[in-house]
């Protein structure tokens, strides 16, 4: 469980403090950030973040609930998913 990588995807209207809010929550829950990419698509801000739960003392559910709360606060759509769904789906 603890060596699981997660992908966090955040979508919505651009505003001040998005990265700050998200990374603060991740730091609080002990999630190490390994990579971040962000872009603007059709006027929407989209951010992708690769996190590692290895050193976190929290469960996946606790982390997901905390990040969902961040999404709600920012009024943005947030997806928190284990990374292997993408690895499996998009490679042979």
């Amino acid at each position: 469980m603890k060596d699981e990588k997660i992908i966090v995807t955040l979508l919505g209207a651009d505003k001040v403090g998005i990265v700050a809010e998200l990374t603060a929550a991740l730091a609080k829950y002990g999630v190490n950030i390994e990579d971040i990419k962000q872009t603007i698509m059709q006027d929407y801000f989209v951010m992708f973040l690769l996190g590692d739960l290895k050193n976190s003392t929290y469960t996946f559910k606790e982390i997901k609930d905390a990040l969902d709360a961040v999404g709600e606060k920012l009024k943005m759509e947030i997806w928190v998913q284990k990374k292997d769904i993408f690895d499996k789906m998009h490679s042979i």
């Binding site: 992908i7 995807t9 390994e34 990579d35 990419k37 872009t39 989209v46 992708f48 690769l50 996946f60 559910k61 997901k64 997806w79 928190v80 998913q81 284990k82 990374k83 292997d84 769904i85 993408f86 499996k88 789906m89 998009h90 042979i92």
Partner: protein, 455 residues
Amino acid sequence: MTLFHTESILETINMIKVHHLDIRTVTLALSLRDCCDEDVKKVGEKIYNKILKYAKNLNKYADELEAEYSIPIINRRIAVTPISLIGESCKNYDYVYLAKVLDNAAKEVGVNFVGGFGAMVEKGFTRGDLALVESIPEALRVTDRICSSINVASSKSGINMDAVLKMSEIVKETARVTADADGIGAAKLVCFCNAPQDNPFMAGAFHGIGEPECELNVGVSGPGVVAAAVAALPKDADLGTLANKIKQIAFKITTTGELIGREMAQRLGIPFGVIDLSLAPTPTPGDSVAGIFQAMGLEHAGAHGTTAALAMLNDAVKKGGIMASSHVGGLSGAFIPVSEDAGMIEATKKGFLTFDKLEAMTSVCSVGLDMICISGDTPSDTIAGIIADEMAIGMINKKTTAVRVIPVPNKKVGDMAVYGGLLGEAPIIKVNSLSSTGFVRRGGRVPAPIHSLNN
């Protein structure tokens, strides 16, 4: 080094959010062969305890996986050994009691269906088989979550026409005793030719006798994803390109199912069985197999060309999916239930899809005549003719075929039968009014077909 591809992430999210990609079912398949006893109450007790032991965490783990991957797992189900085999160990048969036990166990562990209230009778009935079949109307009347399937034909054994005739009466009676809900009992009852023993989908799921003690089978879905991918191709893309696109999407859908299936099996501490890579529609707009036909270029399901489009779709889904999983089984292909597919419902309402066209389509789809509502006053001999025709298609073509027709009590052609949820709704459609009686009442078996001279 790039650790992830943003396009892949957005594509996955889009498939789930916009095009209804989901895991249609995680089905715990469980042998009940060690539950036999002379005393039916003891059989019931053993069945109940065994189901609770194995399935108590099924919902919990499915919820966990749903959260971890953000992909809906729509149904959590159980498939068991054909109950005719278990119940006939008793001195006094009481299959309705066993159905109630299964129903109670299903409710206790929170699964929406238990499949396997059935028998394999393609060559004939044992006493237990016959008792089970005769108990079906009452068993489906007094339970909520039981599905029943009877295998009445196979390519190796031919068609048991005595069973076909019997089942035609059982189908009609089951609809009659559940008349207050438009004959919903018959929506949970299916006749098979060449029934797969590891199918996770209802109403035909059961745990065959060649299967292990228990295993976890998964059914994936995603007709909306396929329709969207096909629609995104240029209108003049040739059929090879179209087939390749379907294969690519089927691969992606299947890998997701395989991932969830293996994780689920590991958490339950049981072996992973198979993935059934079927395109199973729902009444939700955009989650329709009929929608794929339109994306392929047909005006609507039912147009000439629909059978060819379905044949290509069914084959491409198998080819794409087979690469994505080590063990593919079940029904695997495209389902064409009428009431469960918004596009099929519309095509039937408008008269584009007739009973005869549906029958033709079943010669190339993955199952058969599925969730088709017919007038409640259809003679049972006509239903026997319908079942016999469909069994013949499966027997000769060495494929699975099935019949799940609902003779809706007190309703006529053009009326609507409404079930709600995944079972949806369907207009009553016309069947041929000529008599089948002289043929279906001859009795005996249609002999097994020759497997050479294929033409």
